[in-house]
Subunit: 597 residues, 2 copies
């Protein structure tokens, strides 16, 4: 069966031992109270909530799914009660702005809350999860009146939020969207159009839902530069915050999906719905990216979350399930066979998951910390650096972590053999749930284009160099440590290779833009391994001096997992580099009409 315990020991390792978050927090005005002790308390409670409240609803929620009846959506049994407990625990406001009722705790803490909740129940976690995007957009771009009216209720969890972007004919290409917003005399707008794939678009968890909607003004330029962002609540809100009449927005249907079946993915019909402009007219894409960037990191985290529960579950099974004998002689002498964890190929599957998860957790935490620094550090140059690093690494986190999460879920399933394919064991749900993360908030192909195009080539590699310099300095500082050598060498080599390859692709792309696009997906994976390699080396640096002290076994496991990663997983970089260097020709030379059956 799928099992889950909040991986608090590993989180503590990353927070306190690798990142020394306590010291960083002291340098961030407003975060002085975010001590390691506070983190510990919050995470322990979050772990209990995830393990005891959310995880038991994961299988049943998938089994039951959501129901719709004339636009009224009912979530699976227990979801509403879990949401009430979530609000009563004060979780929605954890890292919110104190000006609107938030607790002002750092983003990184909110990130771990999300990791734990998504491991326990990804579909449920998307109800509060989407609220974050709406909160961010209103907080960054909304008028003061809208902020005062909506932010406190979003932070208390009394209302949830959505992001209404996609239409049936346009997902990636939002420039084609058709939903219209007609200005009214009072400064508001009337919105009409149909949005699809709206996560948490309609449900019974809260009294109101705040839709953030992309639409086009009557005089808008065509394409992407004519899109504006609006806020349109399910129920209109009176000036005192009480609910007014029902707005002209209704769920038309729910999608039948491969996974995350307990999350209501709705077709939302806007019919003269009253809405309010967020940000400037025709600058909706900018405002949207405020939502989107946080959402992308959140989706990357879902990859880690599912990877973690898949790992724990398959580990549990591999220790219990007995089948065949160890090739080096029986290990379970009292039984008729050995636990399958003795078999090298089962270990390969377990360690691959473990190696991906722990590196992903370290990387995600590091990015989250940059987000806190970017938001709160007193030095503008430091803030700018952090902002650049977050921009650079967000597509990597989104795509690399979700690809690995899906791979991990599949390895976890595979450890169960035939039982992995049977619903009651819970593993196949993890595969189905994990699959969406490679698609939504921009497919992983789009992330790859974002990385190599917008984030790297467009600024002539300035952001990239900020990261490769960090890696370079780390390698230089540790290169002479004999115990670190085996880990530093491959990272330093790949760091140089990424620089060379970027230059090469950039030169090619000057002649033909398709060269960058042809390299994109393999390049993102290569870059992902540079990140994971770097974070594994940093984890090793922490673990090495502790491998014979207290908790020796925890640190030794870090070291052996690192060695496994470099021996067995990291060599993927060889293939990726070769594929990148083969250029675009093999992709592009076939005329479209020759693609046929």
């Amino acid at each position: 069966m799928a099992v889950y315990k909040a991986p608090l020991r590993d989180i503590r390792f990353v927070l306190n031992e690798m990142l020394d978050v306590g010291s960083v927090m002291k340098s961030l005005p407003g975060c002085e109270e975010a001590t390691p002790e506070l983190f510990e308390q919050v995470l322990e409670e979050a772990g209990k909530f995830a393990e005891n409240v959310l995880f038991p609803l994961n299988r049943t929620g998938d089994e039951e799914g959501c129901h719709i009846n004339d636009g009224v959506v009912t979530t699976p049994k227990g979801f509403k009660e879990a949401y009430q407990a979530f609000c009563e625990g004060g979780w929605p406001s954890l890292d919110g702005d104190p000006a609107y009722g938030g607790q002002g705790l750092p983003y990184i803490l909110g990130m771990y809350l999300n990791e734990l909740m998504s491991s326990a129940n990804m579909a449920w976690s998307m109800y509060p999860g989407l609220t974050h995007g709406a909160y961010n957009a209103v907080h960054a771009h909304g008028s003061q009146a809208l902020k005062d009216l909506f932010l406190p209720k979003l932070l208390s969890g009394q209302w949830t939020g959505t992001m209404c972007l996609t239409e049936s004919h346009c997902g990636t290409d939002l420039g084609m969207l058709r939903t219209k917003a007609i200005p009214q005399l009072d400064g508001a707008y009337r919105i009409t159009g149909t949005k699809i794939f709206i996560s948490s678009g309609e449900h019974d968890l809260t009294e109101n839902i705040v839709h953030l909607v992309l639409a086009r003004l009557p005089d808008a330029p065509s394409g992407i530069k004519g899109i504006s962002l609006f806020l349109a609540p399910k129920f209109l809100v009176n000036p005192d915050g009480s609910l007014g009449v029902r707005n002209g927005v209704k769920a038309g249907s729910l999608e039948h999906k491969m996974g995350i079946r307990a999350n209501a993915t709705a077709v939302m019909n806007f019919d003269d719905a009253l809405g309010y402009l967020i940000g400037e007219p025709n600058k909706g894409m900018q405002a949207m990216f405020t939502m989107m960037n946080a959402a992308r990191l959140g989706v990357g985290l879902q990859g880690l979350s599912i990877g973690e529960v898949a790992y724990q579950s398959s580990l549990d099974y591999a220790k219990e399930r007995i089948q065949m004998r160890s090739l080096t002689g029986p290990k379970n002498l009292d039984g008729p066979a050995d636990p399958i964890i003795v078999h090298p190929d089962v270990r390969r599957m377990l360690l691959t998951q473990k190696a991906y998860n722990e590196a992903g957790r370290a990387m995600a935490a590091w990015i989250a910390l940059q987000i806190d620094i970017e938001a709160k550090h007193p030095d503008e140059a430091v803030r700018k650096d952090a902002d650049d690093l977050v921009a650079l690494l967000t597509p990597v986190a989104k795509a690399f972590m979700t690809d690995n999460g899906f791979a991990g879920a599949n390895l976890g399933l595979q450890c169960f053999g035939g039982h992995g394919y049977i619903k009651e064991w819970g593993m196949e749900q993890l595969v189905r749930d994990a699959r969406i993360a490679m698609i939504y908030e921009g497919t992983n192909g789009i992330q790859a284009l974002d990385l190599i195009g917008r984030k790297i080539l467009m600024d002539q590699g300035q952001r990239l160099r900020k990261f490769t310099k960090i890696v370079h300095k780390f390698c230089e500082a540790n290169r002479d440590d004999p115990a670190m050598g085996e880990f530093i060498e491959p990272v330093a080599k790949l760091n140089k290779e990424v620089g060379d390859l970027t230059m090469w692709v950039g030169m090619q792309a000057l002649q033909n833009q398709e060269e960058a696009a042809a390299a994109a997906t393999d390049y993102l994976r290569l870059f992902g391994h540079l990140c994971y390699g770097y974070f594994w080396a940093r984890m090793v640096q922490v673990a090495l001096p502790k491998q014979n002290g207290d908790e020796a076994s925890f640190y030794q496991a870090k070291l052996t997992t690192a060695r496994f990663y470099f021996a067995r997983v990291f060599p993927e970089t060889l293939s990726l580099a070769a594929a990148i260097r083969s250029g675009s020709k093999s992709l592009m030379e076939m005329p479209i009409e020759q693609f046929k059956v």
Copy 2:
């Protein structure tokens, strides 16, 4: 939406142009009538049956699933009628022995029938598919009386067959099985025990079901050497072939599965069921492998089948769906955007599928032809060679083709973006269906152990050399052809590398058997690329002289796909070789107790 057309042009290419099957058939006694014209007729009809009868039932079958009521199973709407049409068309007897009513056509033709049917409807195709295994086992090891009684009904399709191996506590490790067979005075046996995961274990398509059951005699040695194979029909059969009383075997429940939901996967309870020994007492595993080897190739084929329908569907979508502009300027001037097939990353996904499918089809056909040669060639040495090659390549076909089929289905889904995740579009079903093929009939990890252990190291590489010699000769013969050079060079290099690596792993394994097991999965994939590389080179050899003649576009597409394969897919071999050479240490050094959360 998922779409499917039987890929007859490509099948013709492999059969007639690459393999020259017509000439081979002339050398096989009994196959003289299997002319290319006959193949063509049969395949055209098979294609129509797959496209028009089976494919329309694929989505609805998945949606409805199977029903069980007190042991009585009902298949989804339309399945029974399709099965009747299948029997009326004479399809079950296609490659059966004429002595029992079969048409005596070659195995390779039956293989293509299976490819087409499984593409159209994998779950449905498993009802007749499992019959083949039972037929093979009875045909090879059954007494004449059993053959006379059962084979004609299996070949007419009047009855179907099953393979009852797995028990809840043992799948891979059949030595632990507990089902008992007690000899009766009349030479029959009474079988008692519970089998799980029995595909097509119970259904309403036929009046009787013939279960092939592994069980243990009272005096049997423990472990794998004490297992015998029995035939236990659902209804006992009178000497005249008419049905007698119901036997003591009943479906206890149906599994709720990730995919192939329209196939009834049953828990089968045997309660003093009357059964007949197949083959020698305690030699059940040998008899079982007769079923299993054919079944393994059949499962490998399912990988191809799903890969094909995923490719066709995503290609169709990529030509229709418009989103963004080509980076080299608009291609669809009349529309607001270009079809997504203009984008390099979409092409990467399409071409990867195409490259895997076409190489897989070529390899599977070549193996199937060896099976025909092994069964029918007059020269014993030729038969032995064929037998060795089939034994060597069966685990590769099973594991490599199903891994690639699953990867292909996921790439196909990814081309659809969000729509790929929605059930009505049909793509997510392909992913769910494809997933089982990596597990059943021996997980892909077990295939990898079979390849490197039993098939290669155990005979000191004799079988391996039979294959690498074929590759070597081909490379030598074509190395000086300048047009072939770019394809020959990587294949020749990998052929040598596989030899070297095998030697290296073999030497390591002499010290420690875990070294072979640690290398197994990566080794199988490496070997898979050697096969695909070889078959791509052979396809290129056929296509090169025809690239400017009739159907130039078909042959040009072969060449560009081959170039894509070597440029973008084949470099995976670099990573695999590096991972193999890293040895077993990184997998095995962590003590079990250090695996924890």
